[in-house]
Each structure stands twice: as C-alpha cells, then as structure tokens.
Symmetry: C2
Subunit: 587 residues, 2 copies
C-alpha cells in the first residue's frame, strides 16, 4: 500500500526540479501532506489517505520524500536512498529500505522520461547533462605513491575546512535566527542584503581577474556565446576570456562541470581560483538560513571542487592525476568534512560523475576528512537539529546517563487518570498541562488494589470527550459504546495543527460531574521501565523503538503503581543538566 | 578503536581472493576470530584483543568482515557496505555504517594496490578486469516504450525463476542436510557425486552444439588460444568455434563477461544459450550446500545473464537494446528474485559493470522481480536461516502475536536465585538446566519484601564460583571481594566453545553448604515487561534492542516479583504453535 504512495512521491519527485535543499524539503512536504490526508484548506483531500494517518507511516513517507528529493536533485536514485538512510531516518527498518528504493526507482524512471522529452531543448537548462550531471568517465586514471600522499594531505585540509565551515555556519545561523524571529520585514531585509552582497561579489570580483587569450585548438567556442560554456568574455577584448567570470557567470552546475573537466590544466588562473574559492566559501556560509530555498550540497561541492583544483594545479608538476580529478576529490573532502556522510556521498558522487575508477580514492578522502572534522564538531545537519531545539535522540546515550536512573529525571507532578474518571478532572488536567500522554490507573472499587491499566493519549481523550458518552455512576463499561459512537478513523492521528483542542470543547456543570470510561481507548501494553533502570538504557529504548512516552513503574510493591512518565524532552542534555548542575558535561 | 580492527579486516579482505560465498564466510570468520581474542589453539593471541570480547563488538566485527568479503569478491566496496546493511546486520546503527565503510575503504585501497602489483600477469587470473570486473561502459544506450515493456516482462519472468530457485534450493538443502549429518563419508560422497555430474555436464553438453564459423573481422583471436576468450575451439575444425564450449570451458568470470559483451548478437546460438541456461540453473541449485566453498551470487548472475541474453536475442528485431545489456538486466532480475536485495544489488551491479546509464532500468527490473518473487516465498538467505533453526527474529512481529501476552509463552519452571544464594542451589540449577540467564531476587532477611535485583548470566556465575569466595552466613557483602579477586576482563565474553562449564568445577560438601553473594555480578538494569504486555510488542523489543533475555514481571503487586524469562526461542513460531496448536498460522 505504501508502495503506491512511494510511487506518487516518486513521480512528484521527478517533476520537482531544483537543488538539494529545497528538493529534500519539497519531497518531505509533499509526503507530510499526503500523510495528513491531503490539505483541507486547499480542498485537496482524498479519503483513502486516512489509512496513513499515523506516526509510523507519516515518518516513513517523509523519509521517502527526502530520498525522492535527493534522487531528483542529483539524478542519483541510489544516492537518494542512502542519503535518507544515513541522514534522514533515525530509526531504520528493512521495510523502509525497500520503500525508499521503490520511491527513487520511480523517480529515476520518470526523470529519464522527462530528460528524453526535454532533449530537444524545450525545457531550458533542465535536460543538460542527461542522467549523469557531470560525466567524467574516460580513460582509467593511474596514480602512484606520491599521488596518494598528496591525496591524504588534501583530505586532511579538506576536513579542517569542513569543520571550520560547520563552526562558522553554526554561529551565523544563530545570528540569523535572532534576526528572522523579529518578523517578516527583518527577514526580507536580510535576504535583500545577502542578495546584494552576492550580486556585488559576482559582478565586482571578475574585474580583478586578468584576461587570458583563448586556448588554441579548443573544441569549445571562445569566448562563449549563450548561457553556458567555459569561456566568458566579460570585459575582455575579442579572442580573450575572463576565467573568474567563467566561474561566476555560469549556473552552479556549469561551474562545477568546468572545475571537474579534464585536460584543462591552464584554463583557470591560480589567482582566479583562489578568489573564487574564498568568495564561494563565504557566500555559501551566509546564504544558508536566509529566507530563500537554498541548499548546502551544491555550495559545498563548488567550494570543494575549487579547493581541489587549486591543490591539483599546485601539485601539477608532481602528480599524474588531472586537476579535474583533484577537483572531484576536493569536493569529496569538503562533503565528508561538513556533512559527515560517507556511503551516500560516495554513491552520489559516483552517480554525478560516472567515475567509478576514482572510487577507492574518493573513499579514502572521505574517510580522512570525516575523521579529521569529527575531532572538531558534529555534522552540519546534527548541528542544525540541536540549534532548532528539536528533541533529537543521539544513537548513543551520553556517558553521564549511566550514573542516573529513570526516576531521577521524571519531571513535574504526576497526573494520572482513573480507569473511570470524572469528566471535570480530565478537563482540568488537560487545561492545566500540555502533556500528551497520561497513565491510567484502576483504583477501588473498579479493581481490588491500585493497578496500572496503561496509557491514554491526549488526542484520543479529546475525541472521546467530544462524543459525550458520559455516565452518572463510576462503573466500568463493556466499551461497546466507543464502537457504536466512533468510526475506525476518528482516532487516527490528526494532521499538524488540525487536532482538536481542549478549548474547543465546552461542558455543562452537570456533565463535569459525570464519569467517562477511559478503558476502551487506553493502550494497555505501553512500554515500561522500573524506576531504578539505568537512564542510559532507557535512552536506548527510546531511540531504538522511536518512543514518545515511557512509563516508569515503582520497584517495590505496595506503592502507587506509577512513578512518572518519561518523554524525549526529559532525556535532553539541557533538562538533565538543569536538574543536576554538578554533572560533568562529558566523560 | 574498532576502526583499527576494521582496517585489519580490510587488509585481510583485500588479500583473500575467491568468490562471494566463501569470501563472506572467510571475512566473517576472521572477524569472529579477532573478536575472540585470537585462537589459543594455534597460538595466535593478542592481549589487546580482549577489549572486543563482548557481544556487540563481535557482532559488529562479523558484519564488517562480511562487508569486506563482498567488497573483495566483487571489487565493489560500496556494494559491500550495502550488502552488510541489507543482509548481514539485523540490528543497524549509524556507527556500524561508518565502521563497515572504513573496512571496505581499506579493502578498496589494498585491492587497488594488489591489482596494480599484479598488472604484469604475475598473479594468474587475479588482475583480470582491473577494479571493474565486467566493464560495459560505452555509448549511452537509448530505449523506448516497446523496450520498457520487454524489460517489464523480463523482470516478471525473472522474478518467477528466482522464486522457483529459492523453492527448489530449500528442498535440495533439506535433503543435503540429512545426508551431511550422517558424517564425513556421506559428505565426501555427495561432493564427489556433484563434481562428477558437473564435469559430465561441462564436458558432455558442448558435444551437442554445432560449430560456428569464426566471425570475420573480429578483434579477438578465433579460435581462442590460452585460458580465456570468447571462442573455444573444442571439437571444431580450424576457423570454427563451439559457442557452448566457450561458455562452459571459461572461468565463470569470463563466461559472464562474454554474456555481457556488446555487439556480439550472433556469437552464441539460441540453442547453446538454452542448454547452458538449464545446465547452470540446475548445477547452481545442486552445488550450493555441498562441502565446498561455493557461493550463490555468481551462479545466479550467470543463469540470469544467460536468461537475459536469450530474451534479448529473441527480441532482437523489436528492440534497440543490445543483448549484452539484456543479459545485465536478466542478471539483475535473477538477483532480485533470489536474494531479494535491492539497493546493494544495484550498487554491486553498478560497480561490477560501470554501466551507470542502465541504472534506471536495473532499478525497475529489481523492483518488479522482487515484488513478483515475494508473492511466492522468502529470500534465499532468510530461508537458510529458518532451515538451520537459528532463532532469527523477523523485523515484524507475526500477526497472531497480537492476541497473546508475554506470560503466555514463558516456558518451563522458573529458576531464580537469591541475592545471596547457597552454592549448592546454584550448582544444582546450573546442572539441571541449560539456561543462560537467571533472575536474582532479594528475599528477607536481605530485603524487607521479595524484590527483583536483576539478571545474572550463567557465564558470570561460573567465573564467580571458580573464585570460591564463599561465606558461612547469608549476608550481603560490599562486593569489594570481586574487585580484589578478579580482573576487569575475567568476565569478558569467552570465545565460542571456550567458556567455562559447570562440569569443570568441583565443590566439597562443605563449600556446597556455604553462600555466595551474587549482587556484584548482577545486571541491575535488565529490560523488563509486564506480564500482560502484548507479545507482539515484546518481540519488537527483542528485535530492536538485540536482546537475549527479557524479564517478565507481574502486573499486580504482592506476588513473587518475577513471572519468568523470555528468550528468543520462546518467541519462535514453532514454540508458540506448540503451546497454542489452534492458533492460525497466518493472518
């Protein structure tokens, strides 16, 4: 069933064109929209979409959407699967692998058909490059020991630059988030400022570059006529071209293609490459985070390729490898240093360039640059997640968690419901707290001794209350009223921002004094831990099962059968360090 | 730290040469040996290996070893990572991705160096094909709608053949396992029989084929001189070659290369291909499972390629695609139909053939053949795991598990230890059961009421008993004696078959009456579930956390604080169906 969905995503992925950041975003957005059952606001709803209104399917769909985005942006279907695996999904299952593969396979087929359709130049720059954007495949490159040393150094420096990029980006994004929070005018002003800086750089800097005479016997036109090409004339006299302008005044795709191209050792002056590198590195930093749909991949590849070409040109006399291949390795080192992805970057670069012979070197460079950069800070996407304050669970529990137990971090007074609870109590509890889950405990006379029944979700309680099946007496029912009163999908997960709110419900004095039976909507098999469970192990449980709530039960008998509820927020370092200020931050 | 290990594995992976089955096995074996701290029997031990004597590191090492095996066998480093991800590891973590990547990167570099070294023909057939074994890269293939239909049909039939292969292989392996269990003579006899059948087929069948005249203007020698080549003369007169002999009398690698080769539409007679297909399909079935190191990948690729070439030759007049590319797609369809892997097969084929342009078609074929074959049975590796009776947990819980609770399947009488237990009781319990974990419960006078302390492992209890730190009185100690008496690694996981046994320990009557404090070696944070927990959820817990034991605790207070222990065997379908014969087997 989800496969059908995957193919819808795949087809939309194939049609959406652009760059990685917005593509991944667009893919994920479409997926989320489908997962909500369409948009009611824009009258785009389908009834059958209701089957996917649950956490797991929605999470899977968003992962598939991200994969479709990368697959379409880089025309790299396998790379898309691996990107989703390595970066997007914190909770991987083999079914998900198959679903993302399905999605990107459809993307690949649709993309291939569109490229075929656009071959006659009907679609602007879209068809350019075919399915392989920067095709490098040619003769088998040969390399020896001295090349390996050069490549190791390239990887090390690339890793340092990547780590620095992440560090600076984190600082800049923190400033931007303060500016962006001030409202739309500040946002627009920031965007305009960055646009002006970008334009000034792009137009101003080429004036610094000297004109070069056109190479003799080149296959390409020189100077270039039209939109793309290696030789932009700019201010130069006829028969000459401006190398820096050739990089700045092309699409990013063409600039990358120029940098990767082989047999063009002397096409770009060293000074042009150097200026372009600094400009692109800085512009890449300041552009991400403003209110435009831009990504990180292409700026990083561009900066890395320029860096690689600089190294390649410098080492030219000593090395057999073409500067174009050095540019590829430079791009790999920057990607490894900023994204910290390995397998997916490998495959994406392979799918972008069709240069399988370089794979061992690309792997080596990625290995080195990731290792080096990991000494300084975290990957760029992890940094952004932390900065946004999302309760993202690390794969490993923090070392200090080993010294704490589950009950140490349970926060706030515990609010629990009786199996048959007074409506007034429920309404009060929902009003004064924002909790999304409440433990349900049967107490005498319903049971002999207090006994944990399970967990109810806020959203389910609200739906139940809206049905107004209240009773005068505190007695357990058969639960059949729920089946009579509600359909199977009334309790399905509502779309974002569309859930019922407690403020929407009004009850009379009389209703508030009545009782409602929570048993039919209670999850009677919630995951529980004993209060003395190591916090590290509880964190692993959260991460491995993708939990939202974890019930903490007492160790010794005879006490109230629930100690508290753990949520992801309770396991965040900020919360724990707030409770235990003397805890050492790292091991 | 594990990275160092990965690189050792990587280097060994690079040096071990052969085919996928034995390669994966070899890689995993070396990894397991390292994870045991070397082999004491052959005096290959290193002291620092003791740091990896635990379940998780050993599991990771075996996964890395498998990845190294595939990477070396197919010269496909990224494919190796994905194979390990998709097939070998049931419990994936991002750290593992990085470790397998590290391992295969080292494999790639070592392999590259070895190929370079062997370029001058010093190493027999090893250097052949370079880093890309079956290089197909050439012009961009073009295909239209009628080709797509042909490819979809190819995928469907390939899926059927793949499913049939799995079905037949399962039956044959069941017969073989009965034969192999009879001892070495039967094993050898079986192997000899299969060898004779294989030889008879290889030598006898080519006599059926007619001789073809050598193609005019071919680049290759015809008939072939030496070991490899497309045109074997066999019984034919000079200037002629035998197509069937060209397939049978080559190495499998060369046969695949011949089948994949382009521009050779008429090289193989339809009848030759047909005979070869049937022979290879059947020989592949009967060879796997006999006592020789053979794999499944290469026979399946070979059969698939032949099948694809047959389809390609049949459709020749209607299709633009070369029969060589059809052979590639046929191989993909068979791999998808038997292995049921998608992403890794895609990448392995890409790395084998360097044919990126066919990627969308390969993905499409894999999609179709896997879907079709999934209708019939499970993937070949899953089947083998089931047949071997290993307690392999499915990623999903079986539907009938939703109707059971944890306490339903807890088996046997519960054996638990007191926190301070009489030595005689422990020895008795260890002798009469084979359990690997025992719950520890504090009882008066050690605690006020019976209270669950945690779980002790059999191996740890044995080590503790061997220390003979016994007491006359039943009192709780500070636990410091364990620190004084044992080193940090005495409790480390022993290598397979090397653990202490209860039969190795002898105690006097007096010692049997003494007490030992189990608290210092008790895991006080075991994962627990309430007895009413849905069995489906308990199974998910097992799988997601990679558990071996799960404690089942009572729901209502006042009872003995432990109901039983769940193990993987308790969750196997056979065990559950044994307990509940009326349970429906499927949903």
């Amino acid at each position: 069933m989800l496969q059908i969905f995957g193919s819808i995503l795949g087809v939309s992925g194939g049609f959406v064109l652009g760059k990685e950041g917005p593509m991944v975003h667009t893919g994920a957005c479409i997926a989320n929209l489908l997962g909500q059952g369409g948009s009611r606001k824009y009258h785009l709803t389908w009834n059958w979409l209701k089957y996917f209104k649950n956490d797991r399917d929605r999470r899977d769909l968003i992962t598939c959407g991200a994969a479709a985005g990368v697959a379409a942006a880089f025309r790299a279907p396998v790379g898309g699967v691996l990107f989703a695996l390595e970066e997007a999904a914190s909770w991987w299952r083999s079914a998900l692998l198959w679903r993302t593969f399905f999605t990107t396979a459809v993307v690949a087929v649709v993309l291939r058909a569109l490229i075929e359709f656009c071959r006659k130049g009907k679609c602007g720059l879209f068809g350019q490059g075919g399915l392989i954007m920067f095709d490098l495949s040619s003769n088998v490159p040969s390399y020896g020991t001295q090349d390996l040393i050069a490549i190791i150094i390239l990887g090390v420096i690339g890793g340092v630059f990547g780590g620095l990029f992440n560090f600076l980006l984190d600082r800049i994004l923190r400033v931007y988030s303060i500016i962006n929070e001030r409202g739309a005018p500040s946002k627009i002003l920031l965007t305009i400022t960055i646009s002006i800086i970008t334009s000034a750089c792009s137009y101003g800097l080429p004036w610094l570059a000297a004109c070069s005479p056109c190479p003799v016997g080149s296959m390409e036109e020189c100077p270039t006529i039209g939109r793309s090409g290696n030789f932009k004339s700019f201010q130069c006299p006829p028969g000459h071209y401006n190398g820096l302008a050739s990089l700045f005044f092309n699409t990013n795709d063409d600039a990358i293609r120029n940098l990767f191209s082989r047999g063009t050792e002397n096409e770009f002056h060293m000074s042009s490459l150097f200026v372009f590198f600094i400009a692109i590195y800085c512009l890449g930093l300041v552009t991400y985070g403003i209110a435009v749909p831009s990504g990180l991949f292409i700026p990083v590849i561009l900066a890395g390729a320029t860096y690689g070409r600089i190294v390649g040109t410098l080492l030219g006399p000593m090395s057999d490898i073409d500067p174009g291949l050095f540019a590829l390795l430079g791009a790999a080192s920057f990607l490894g240093g900023t994204m910290r992805m390995t397998v997916s970057v490998c495959v994406i670069l392979l799918e972008l360039t069709n240069e399988l012979h370089m794979l061992p070197l690309v792997m080596l460079v990625l290995l080195i640059s990731k290792t080096i950069a990991d000494c300084f800070n975290k990957g760029v996407y992890d940094q952004i997640v932390v900065m946004k304050g999302l309760p993202f669970m690390e794969a490993h529990a923090e070392p200090y968690m080993r010294h704490l137990v589950a009950s140490d971090v349970v926060s706030g007074p515990l609010i629990s419901f009786s199996g048959v609870e007074k409506v007034g109590n429920i309404v009060h509890a929902l009003r004064i707290t924002g909790h999304n889950g409440f433990p349900v405990v049967d107490e005498p006379p319903v049971s002999e001794a207090p006994e944990l029944v399970g967990l109810v979700l806020r959203s389910h309680v609200l739906v139940l209350l809206s049905g107004r099946n209240f009773m005068k007496e505190k007695v357990k029912t058969s639960g059949s009223f729920v089946l009579r009163r509600f359909g199977a999908f009334d309790f399905a997960k509502p779309g974002s921002g569309k859930g019922m709110k407690i403020e929407d419900l009004d009850f009379t004095e009389e209703e508030m004094e009545m009782y409602v039976d929570l048993h039919p909507i209670t999850n009677t098999s919630p995951y529980t831990v004993v209060e003395t469970m190591s916090l590290a192990k509880a964190a692993v449980l959260f991460r491995a099962l993708g939990l939202r709530h974890l019930l903490v039960v007492p160790k010794t008998p005879g006490r109230f059968p629930i100690v508290g509820i753990l949520t992801r927020h309770d396991l965040m370092p900020e919360h724990i360090h707030g409770l235990f200020p003397n805890l050492r931050k790292s091991h």
